[in-house]
């Protein structure tokens, strides 16, 4: 099953099970979604539940907040992360705050689906990542689907949860293939051990998990050591327990993120390691991240702006060698 099909199935099943689930966004209905995630759903559930909105992001999220206040379970789709900036007032001031400010009287059972990241030559206004800003907002659950099975289970959870969830997807993952275990009991807040190892913990999320997995054979060959690869899955709250167990075993941590390095999300993980796990560390924690530049259009420059499997492998091997591996 493809990643986008897993997402579609999650929405389909929740819509079938619960008549209060509605989907809204640009081209989500008759068109089927710009990444075909909502394909076929309008035929099943009608235009009242697959709501084609104008190109007005503030309203897409703002309306979803009002729908959730009135007892629906809206799933709002932002076409691409950069456009969400027009909706950030609603995401931060409304979606994240109403429960707290009303002392729990108002619940917002809603999801904002959030495709993001560097795709292929879409240039600076269609290539960004905003997990660093979203995770800094108390009151929002931030999930990041880097895997097909997780995408299916976590989106189902997000739609049925009574908390507001930002559900981050990576634009290059929509056609990724994977197995879905429909009967599995997946905890959406638990980090996923993608590969076990004993010498280096590599923490990542979204598409970078795949890039890390591509880099790992080279790293292991050069260093003669094994890597443990962790997909964070939930960016807020963070599953520090899984990270702690892995780090106690390996003593070394690398965080890989696609986003610009300065102010990037990965800094939260390395600062946690430095503050809380200092005496378990055998090497300084490092981050491998994108450059501090807007994403350029030219393919060569675009690839130079973000981590690639080759760059990840090279950096980890160098760091390993200078730190006793």
């Amino acid at each position: 099953m493809l990643y986008r099909e897993a997402l579609n199935r999650a929405i389909d099943e929740t819509m079938a099970a619960d008549g209060t689930v509605v989907v809204l966004g640009e081209d989500v209905g008759l068109y089927g979604g710009s990444y075909r995630v909502t394909e076929g759903l309008v035929a099943k559930y009608g235009e009242e539940r697959l709501i084609d909105t104008p190109i007005a992001e503030l309203s897409i999220v703002g309306n979803a907040v009002g729908m959730a206040m009135a007892g629906l379970r809206p799933v709002a789709e932002i076409m691409t992360a950069n456009f969400s900036l027009l909706a950030f007032d609603q995401i931060i001031n409304h979606m994240a705050k109403y429960r707290y400010m009303s002392a729990g009287k108002i619940a917002l059972p809603m999801v904002v689906r959030f495709p993001q990241g560097v795709s292929r030559q879409l240039a600076a206004q269609h290539s960004e990542s905003y997990e660093q800003m979203l995770s800094a907002v108390p009151g929002l659950i931030v999930l990041a689907a880097g895997d097909v099975n997780y995408a299916y289970h976590a989106l189902k959870y997000a739609i049925m949860s009574d908390d507001p969830v930002v559900f981050i997807e990576h634009e290059l993952l929509y056609n990724k293939k994977g197995e879905v275990d429909f009967d599995a009991d997946i905890d959406p807040f638990k980090a996923r051990i993608v590969k076990e190892g004993s010498d280096i913990t590599i923490v990542s999320y979204l598409k970078m998990v795949d890039d890390v997995m591509e880099a790992v054979p080279q790293v292991e060959k050069e260093l003669g050591k094994t890597c443990e690869v962790v997909d964070l899955c939930s960016l807020n709250p963070v599953d520090y327990k899984t990270l702690e167990a892995s780090l106690k075993k390996t003593g070394r941590i690398v965080v890989v993120e696609e986003d610009h390095k300065t102010g990037g999300y990965g800094a939260q993980i390395t600062s946690w390691a430095a503050e809380e796990m200092f005496y378990s560390l055998d090497a300084p924690p490092i981050r491998i991240a994108g450059e501090d530049v807007p994403i350029p259009y030219n393919r060569t420059l675009e690839l130079a702006a973000i981590p690639t499997p080759e760059k990840i492998a090279k950096r980890i091997a160098e760091w390993g060698k200078t730190n006793g591996l």
Partner: protein
Amino acid sequence: MNKLLAEEIYYNMVLGRTFELAAKEHYMAGDISGFLHLDIGQEGFSVAAMKAFEKGDVFTTYREHVMAIARGMDPRAVMAELFGKAGGISRGRGGSMHLFDPSHFFYGGDAIVGGQIPNAVGCAYARKFQGSEDGVMVIFGDGASNGGAFFESLNIASAQKLPLLFVCENNGYAIGTKITRVAPFEKQAKKAEPYMMTKEVDGMDAVAVYEAVREAQELIQAGHGPVFLEAMTCRYEGHSMSDPGTYRSKEEMGICKSKDAIERMESYLKTMYGLTDTQLQGVQRRAQATVDDAAAFAAAAAEPELSELFEDVFCKERVNASF
């Protein structure tokens, strides 16, 4: 308007003003902090709009104490919220600008100018979807009618034919900026004309506001789609307690206060139903007693426990996705 309703509206207007004057006093005394936006001068609009839109959902701004009480929220719980106490309607976590009570279909209390309008649009969509006919009323100021959220909402509500009553409470000032300095006209209903039926009402006349809101809601209940109502009002105080209001002349304020909604309601009750000054004073004493009781309650109420800091960030029990 029948006598019972007129008396009820008058009582709530007097209660509102008495409440606001007490809030002002307690702010000066340091019992209330933060931003405090008083509704003095605009009580006629606030009360009549709430009473007229009794069925249906209401979204409004940060200048909402009088509306909240008219909607049925306990004055004790409102005052205690202003004091930041655990007995407050939002347990002291919201304050003056964030009063919420879904049991009275009252959704705040939004302190982002215009931010509540898209929420009301979503709520109206939901109510239509759920088959409810009562509709939603969203109240905002003239200042909000210059923002993107407002224009997006006019468009969507109109395109979807939503059961939504837009009410622009036009007091002529966006904080300290006269509306005509930042908008091309004095009356903001003009902006809504291409999208929906618009009406204007004298916001200093509670009876007229009541009738205009009732009429608008009846149109909405009949499936007419969205309606826009503009109420021209006058705010006697500054934008908030931190605004001395020096941008308005004595002459302007004099004209403004000559239209006082409470005095107007008093003469209505006298002329229409023969109420005497003694009877009106009785109403005022009842309002004063209610406010004194609310203030005493707020002063004596407990501070929130420190553990409450972490409550209601997320829901207590997360829904299990497996079904």
